[in-house]
Symmetry: C3
Subunit: 344 residues, 3 copies
């Protein structure tokens, strides 16, 4: 199931800088490229001449040129020209609303007429000199909603990420869940605990001692269609925790853009934005490497879960209190999907 | 087609010593592990919480702990505990009858109530200081019954195993087939032949000359569901052959446990038990290596045969006299399968 | 869709010299081998005994011996012998008309009674000391007719083969298409252009300057079922072009035998025959290497095209003037296919 009338992160800019990129999103095969003046464009990855894959071609003077016989495609899906041919009667292909913003390429795989870039959720940390960002992308063989579940319940850190961010206290601390419109929030606050390895490294990265008790927090924010931003951090114990002065804490936003490819596969754009020691590029690289290892651990778990669910499509799963974030997010997803199905 | 109410070799003990093992047997995805006091246990490889694969988790105090959110599963398929949750209402998952015996882990993939470990066929060579055993396991992409056919007609050695155990005389010597209840026996005796390379090495391994004529025998024993034990050996010619005194012969039991995975794939646990020079571990290793090469030759043949049969499901194959062992074994298999289908 | 009553290149002779070859052609799984006196033979790749793949066996005294149990198959698909068995009642398997000619093994996958080797299209360059030939074979995951289209419209050279044989003038020069019975010809003549890298190397290979304008030509000949021979060359400008004396030109025949495997995969036997500097084997090797790189570029394009077409089976493609060669070839193919379907 897809929400097609929504904005998704499709790519990072560097993926389309030197050549077009073919990527399937919500079941749509799309060619992304930089058209006129380098502005990002997106059309169906299907040449109307003989069905070649347009993304295997190249860009010339803002047109996407088919690498098979030279048909030049325009950003709106209309053929612009082809050597020796009149192209007026050529059938149009689909084009997609696409925007470059916040350091990502965003696409709206559904009805282009409904696409309003103003509805892209604002990211306060992007394009902001007070913040540093590092991240990556994984292809994962599971239903995108399993990743939403995963991120809205961080209990799994205790089991999946035992050597980095997991600690027993996550498990032992209850989680609070609430919804404000289409915004779902799950939060957990652990007071006076010892930081696990990933956070000890972050404390050091911010010039703080790593051997003292800390207050640790996790606040997960789901916004449709499938964006999860997680405020995470540790502060020296008793300094105010989440609200502590920045000189006593190391805090970040875990960034998760979940982009469906097929019904059982997804593109996972992950990263971390931090607002301490932001000019230290080696710290950015080190955090990125650590986070990459952590998020690779989820891949094996989610892909095995997907295989199990495909074998047992009728089996009812449990929805415990720790699952409330995912349950509420899916309720919003289901409501929006039903709206998409209605005749407009 | 599977016989589910039967004992199969599922694994060797070392496969579950350090972590759980997920393995599909007769279509059932099963998590094997060491539960209380290290006793082997087997449950469905599906966490009742969110469908994660339990075998990716770990064992703690005899419970199988799910590696996603920490649900602790008991050996009977009932959830024992989960941090912060009452688990009384959690749905049970399947558990399987499983036994460690004779140096193997045995599972009964069907109705647990019918499983009686006393019906595991006795293996006189196992756990017996007068015998030495070495073996391995292969995954093969064919219907398990093709392997039964293969092992109940050793004519193929002449063609498939030309450089090790094959020799022209196998082909030229008729085979005798008989059935005693559910026990099928095919036998072939070749008198005064030169031993092929594998057997020359075994003669040397038992301190016997390898350049003299020998009497060679092959006696294949099928027991349901899919166990084939083959008495094989060579004796210096004229010393009594199969019945020769042990100082004139090198003889072994070829051990074949055939465990279905899917309708067209299987786990092949193979090995060789010998009762000469049993303390010579390098001889055990050398025999094991040789046998491993021989049995790998069958894999290509059987997988190609399977592909051909899938292309031509309606084609009738021949059943010659050399095929009588497999034919009789399949007759028993079919009868037992029909019994399984009857309401009990 | 296949034309089964037709001759196809199945293999090169070296592929069957030392052991049988299993290859699927027009959906038929065929075992090719050298039978009596080394004459090529072809039978269904399915042993009538137990369904083993005959091509995994070996040849003995002109018979194809099954590598599983030693059944000896004759060239006509009748079992000749099997150790210890009377074979008179064994069911026959299919045999195929097969001929070795022009340095290739040709097979007729359809009705053997209709196969007449005299209808193999003559190749004037083969077995001819005035010509040198080098080539190779690729397996490509596309409908064989997409390759016919590809070769009957060389416009794609400008886009797919930019660094070797492509040049802008191909695109700018109109192509002429005509059909003479079942023979389709597309031709393009470019006068006074600079030769692209592949042709500059050929000019040097014939002792001609590579820095002067040339007249370049491409004349593509389609013959059913799927053979495309392309006369290609360059002559120093103003010396008569296609008709120039051989001392002013470098010219060749691009050889393309397109052999269907399945509906969406094919064997591509490609090569180049030249009648200049024919004893220079290093030139042959160099041309072969260059051509191999060029034709590998087509593979990615065609396989992506095939995937796109499978996703959109109902979409109508364009048929422009440059596509006329492929369109006419397909018209012939369709007519011959309809004839095959008629009761004879």
């Amino acid at each position: 199931m897809f929400l097609k009338n929504a904005w998704y992160v499709a790519a990072t800019p560097n993926e389309i800088d030197s050549s077009p990129l073919g990527r399937q999103i919500c079941g749509e095969k799309i060619a992304f490229y930089r058209g006129d003046n380098g502005v990002v464009a997106a059309v169906e990855d299907f040449c109307p001449h003989r069905g070649a894959q347009l993304s295997l071609g190249y860009v010339c003077e803002g047109k996407l040129v088919c690498g098979y016989h030279g048909l030049a495609m325009g950003c709106e899906g209309k053929t612009i020209s082809m050597p020796g041919q009149r192209v007026g009667g050529f059938p149009a292909i689909k084009s997609y609303a696409v925007v470059e913003r916040y350091g990502f390429i965003w696409v709206w795989p559904g009805d282009k007429a409904l696409a309003d870039p103003a509805t892209i959720h604002p990211l306060e940390w992007a394009d902001n000199p007070d913040w540093a960002y590092g991240g990556g992308m994984y292809h994962i063989g599971c239903d995108w909603r399993l990743m939403v579940d995963n991120l809205m319940d961080l209990t799994h850190e205790t089991y999946v990420h035992t050597t980095s961010i997991g600690q027993k206290e996550i498990d032992e601390t209850p989680v609070a869940t609430k919804a404000e419109g289409d915004h779902v929030i799950t939060s957990r606050f652990m007071n006076s605990v010892m930081a696990p390895p990933f956070w000890r490294a972050n404390l050091r990265g911010n010039g703080l001692p790593d051997d003292q008790p800390v207050d640790r927090w996790q606040v997960c924010h789901f916004h449709p269609p499938s964006q999860v931003m997680i405020e995470v951090g540790v502060a020296l114990a008793g300094r105010g925790g989440y609200h502590a002065d920045s000189k006593f804490k190391a805090s970040s936003i875990v960034v998760d853009f979940i982009t469906p490819e097929t019904q059982t596969s997804m593109w996972y754009f992950w990263g971390m934005a931090r607002n301490f020691n932001v000019r230290d590029k080696s710290l950015t690289a080190q955090i990125r490497e650590g986070q990459g290892k952590v998020f690779a651990e989820d891949t094996a778990v989610l892909e095995a879960q997907q295989r199990n669910l495909l074998r047992h499509p009728d089996r009812r799963l449990l929805m415990l209190n720790i699952d409330a974030g995912g349950v509420q997010a899916r309720r919003i997803i289901d409501r929006l999907a039903a709206q998409e199905q209605q005749p407009s």
